[in-house]
Every structure is written in C-alpha cells, then in structure tokens.
C-alpha cells in the first residue's frame, strides 16, 4: 500500500516530462524507491510523519542510492560513500528519496541554465527558467511530482526559484540545519532549505531536518520548536497576526521594481494588515551593497572549497604527463563557464594586493548589513515583508550578462549574509506568472515566520491573483 505514493510520483514525473528531453527536472531516479517505501513502512509501522512520502533531493546533497554530481561534469557518476544528515532524518521520518534534482553547477546560478545536464524548464511556462540554483527541486514541487523537496541556499537559491515556480521556499537560520553531506560552496553562507507545496508542508519538513548534528560543528544546539503547530494556530481566527509588527523596508521597493511584483506585494501587505499585523515603514540602508558584497564573499569561499576537485580525490580526471598539468586539465574540462568565472573571481579578490580592497572590505560591509537587521528587529519590528525577486520568471537564454543575472539575488542575499531565516510564499501572479513574497525573521525566529506565512497563504488561497494550484502527486 505504501509504495502507492511513490508510484504516483513516478507516474506524475513521466506524465509531465520530468526527464532530460522534457522539463529536465530529475537528473537521477532512485531505482529502489518503491522497494524502499515498502520496506520502510514494514519497519516504521505506518506511524511516522512522512510515511511513504516521496521527496526529491537537490543534486548537491549526498545520497547513497543515486549519484551526487552537483550538476557538474567534474563529478559525473560520483556516488557518495555516506549520506547527508538531512536525508537520513527524512528517511527516519518515513520519507522515500524519489531522485535527485537538476541545479546550476555547484549551486552557482539563478536560473538552472548552468548545469551539465542542460537547463530545467519552468512547469508554469516551459519557455521560462524555474529560477536557481535549486530550480529542479522547485520545479519538482510545482509540477506536482512531490510535495516536499530539499534545496540549498547560498544567496537565495531556494527562495528565488520558489517565487518563480509558485511554491513555498524556506531558508532557515544559519546553523538551524546540519550541512553534513551538503557539498560546500560558500561555507559562511550555505544552508539546506526546503521547497514545498504549502507552508505547512515546509514547516513539517524543516521540523524534521532541523537540530544539532555532532557531525556539523556549525549546527546549533537550540531546541527545535513545533513549527507545524505554529502554522496550524495561525490558520485559525480572523486576526491571527494581531500584535505583530511587520516592517516594510523601503530599499526592497525601488523605483525599478517590476510593476506586477509591486502590485502583488502591496496587496499582500494589505492582507497582512487585515490579518491584524501593524505595517511599519523601515530602512535597511546597506541593502544596496548586498550584491557586491555577496559576489565577493561567495566566490572567495568557493575558490577555496572547490580546490578539492582536482582529479585525485573525486570524480573525473583528465590524464596528463605531469601532476600539475593533470590538475589544470581536469579542472578546465570539468568546470563549466560560470563556475570557472567565479573561481577566478574569488581567487582574484583573495590575491595579494586585492585582499584588503575587496575581500576585507566586503566582510566589513557584510557586518553593516547584519547590523541593519539587528537594529530593526531590536526596534520593535517582528518580521519584514519584501518581494522575493525583482521580476517574475524570465525567458530561457534571455540574460547573458553575468552581473545582470547576479541581480536576481538582490532581495535574498541579505538574509544569507546576515544568517537570518526567510521564506518565500506565493502571493499571486503578474502577467500570468507566479510572484513570491518574502517574510524575514530574526535569528531562530522560524516559528513566527511560518505563522505569518501560513496566515497570509490561507488568506490569499482563494484570491483572484493566486497562481493555479499544482496537481497533487497522489
């Protein structure tokens, strides 16, 4: 009986064309998924929170039964000898790994166009990108293949694709979730995140994967609240947000903001007020520096983290006479254009003569960005509401300038730089495309963040601008 959800998910994947010739969502399917569901049910007795529920995993999170390639040629066919803690915890809750999802190579991108497997297409409009870098996971949820998928966040890689695909995306507090088994990109920024069809599904999944892990020294020892109960409480009553102060940071509503996105955000703020929240204009003045800071810090850390892919320890190797020539050839062949660009950029800003001007300067300004959040939250604001992305999903191949692509992260990178949690929730459509609204909370404030998101989701559920619901997986 319990293999039925997995079979339905596989059928759904086939019917929407989730393979390489179609939407290109799944880069590997777990061949043991149905058997796993049946054997797990036999062991768990059907009482666990995710009994038999199929989940999709981003291809930079280690799994035992499928390769973990990070969407890169350099890791083609690589199978991890261990499994990520987040995957272990999902399995322990009864979930079944359906397969691995496409992504921008090593999570470097905002469109899932930069993958060795080719681009993923947005299920809402296959001419458009799903966002990135967790575009495959967002698309898997939006296409109704799974209700829950894991992604990873370094600068907005869960929330931005969630916005583009019309699903829920959560970036937890830095340290809330173990990163053991997540392939490192930028270690001071990376977090595992959740994509889901509803706020409650996202809260359920985060509650399962969150918490201290002795195998990740950066994971926090704080207790994990019952996020799902917080969601359920917020979805009842007419003014569930009474007494909650929601800040509207003016820097996130610039003159150039897409008019459809602005309209949906204004409507969502009105809804939050109707739910009892007090809306207050606030300022986070260093927001404007987030992209320059992010695109110094993240490539700098990436240039170090990706040094391990040298043809000796992992994945592919291009043979050469001398060992240094083998390194050069392997990395040149193995990395795609965007990863190479960022490795060179990161190496440049860390090199002699440029370290102070770029890297140290960026870290100083990062401190100011974090101080902005602390000041606003200490001043009586409970949550912040912003657009998740400056535009709806754009067309495949329409952005070729690297910096223009980087600007997609303008409203999301601040949460990564400062470590605070944030969620993107669908708030309607613009020109027929989904629009996401972002709720940002103080460090470890996920429960109140989920509560506000659930109240907003519940209120908007039947509004005329809401995106069409995804077909359920079962």
């Amino acid at each position: 009986m319990t293999g039925s959800l997995v079979r339905a998910a596989l059928d759904r994947a086939a019917s929407v064309g989730a393979g390489r010739e179609g939407l290109n969502i799944l880069v590997a399917v777990n061949p043991h998924a149905v058997a796993d569901a049946e054997s797990a049910a036999a062991r768990g007795g059907g009482q666990r929170l995710l009994e038999g529920v199929p989940v999709a995993i981003k291809d930079n999170i280690a799994t035992l039964d499928t390769p973990t390639t990070c969407g890169s040629r350099i890791l083609a066919g690589y199978v991890s000898p261990f499994e990520a803690t987040v995957v272990e915890r999902l399995r322990a809750a009864g979930a079944v790994v359906l397969g691995k999802t496409n992504m921008d190579e090593f999570a470097m991108g905002s469109s899932t166009e930069h993958s060795a497997y080719g681009p993923t297409r947005n299920p809402r409009d296959p001419c458009r990108v799903p966002g990135g870098s967790s575009g495959g996971s967002a698309a898997a949820v939006a296409a109704g293949i799974v209700r829950i998928a894991l992604g990873s966040e370094t600068g907005g890689s869960v929330r931005q694709p969630a916005s583009f695909c019309g699903v829920v995306g959560v970036k937890p507090t830095y340290g809330r979730v173990s990163r053991y088994g997540l392939v490192a990109f930028a270690s001071s920024l990376d977090q595992v995140g959740v994509l889901a069809q509803s706020v409650e599904d996202a809260a359920l999944a985060l509650g399962i994967i969150a918490g201290r892990d002795p195998r990740d020294a950066t994971s926090a020892g704080r207790d994990v609240p019952d996020y799902r109960s917080a969601v359920r409480r917020a979805a009842t009553g007419t003014t569930p947000l009474a007494g909650v102060v929601v800040g509207r940071p003016r820097e996130y509503f610039p003159d150039g903001l897409h008019p459809g996105v602005r309209e949906r955000c204004d409507a969502a703020l009105n809804t939050l007020a109707e739910l009892g929240a007090t809306i207050r204009d606030v300022s986070l003045p260093h927001t404007t520096y987030a992209i320059p800071v992010y695109y110094i810090v993240a490539p700098a850390e990436a240039s170090s983290n990706l040094a391990r892919f040298d043809g000796v320890r992992y994945g592919a190797r291009v043979q050469a006479e001398a060992v240094t020539a083998m390194y050069d050839a392997t990395r040149s062949h193995g990395f795609g254009a965007e990863v190479t660009r960022r490795i060179l950029l990161g190496t440049y800003v860390l090199s002699a003569g440029y370290y102070d001007a770029y890297y140290k300067r960026a870290q100083d300004v990062r401190t100011l960005i974090t101080a902005d959040f602390r000041r606003v939250f200490a001043g009586g604001v409970d949550l912040l509401f912003t657009p998740t992305a400056p535009t709806p999903a754009f067309k495949l191949g329409s952005i070729s300038d690297p910096y223009e692509m980087y600007l997609n992260d303008i409203f999301t990178a601040t949460a990564n730089l400062s470590g605070v949690p944030a969620i993107s929730v669908p708030i309607g459509t613009a020109e027929g495309l989904p629009v996401g609204g972002q709720i940002i909370a103080p460090h470890f404030g996920e429960a109140s963040m989920f509560a506000a998101a659930a109240a907003l989701e519940h209120a908007l559920e039947h509004s005329p601008g809401a995106p069409p619901p995804s077909a359920p997986a079962s």
Binding site: A307, R331, S332, L345, T347, R361, T367
Partner: protein, 119 residues
C-alpha cells in the same frame, strides 16, 4: 577596475584551472565588468565596524599556493614498485584474508609485498 590578460593568467594558475588563450579576452572583460560594480564598496563608511585585524592579525600566505605533495619523487613516499603499481604495507584489516600461510594477525607495516595483494 581593468583586469588584464596577465591577471587572468595569474589567477588561473593560482586556481589551477587550465585556460585556452582564446578565452582570455572574454574572461578579462567579464571580470572587469563584475569588479566595476564592486567599486561602490570603497565609498561605504566602515569606521563603525570593529577591525578584526586589530584584535588578532590575519596571517596571509604568499600567492604561490599550497605545496603539491605529489610533486615529490615517487621513491620518497613509495619505495617499492612492481609493474607500474605502488606496493603498500599490509593493513591490519586484511588480517583475515591472509594467504600463503600468513597468520591472520600479521604485523602492520610489513613492507614485503604479498604477491596477490600488492596491486
């Protein structure tokens, strides 16, 4: 900020990424364009930020990159070879698989190759 072709060659060498010379102009232009946007950070007042360098100096190493262990001559770390394979000491975990009359608890560090396990 203008990044030259030599700059790109230099950082590619540091990053151990082989580059086709034909890619240099495009990469130099892309990196220059990106770094131009970073210049705005120079105008930010960071006086309020605690200077970590004053609390504990950050020690930077020269831009030569870390040593490459495999550049050492093979005999310095693998004195025995046969037919192109390195011969390594027998491990304790192989004790149960001993052949040719060896006892299962044969000492670790035996540098005399077992004929069948040596590859």
């Amino acid at each position: 900020m203008s990044v030259s072709h030599d700059d790109v060659r230099r950082v590619a060498a540091l990053a151990r990424v082989g580059l086709d010379e034909r890619r240099l102009p495009a990469l130099a232009a892309e990196l220059s364009g990106i770094l131009d946007h970073m210049a705005v950070l120079a105008r930010v007042d960071v006086a309020a930020v605690t200077d970590l360098a004053q609390e504990g100096e950050v020690h930077l190493r020269p831009d030569s990159g870390p040593p490459i262990p495999l550049l050492r001559p093979l005999p310095t770390f693998a004195p025995l070879m046969r037919d192109g394979f390195l011969i390594v000491p027998r491990l304790a975990t192989h004790g149960g698989e001993a052949r040719h009359g060896e006892s299962p608890g044969a000492p670790v560090g035996n540098d005399r190759p077992d004929e069948e396990d040596s590859a």
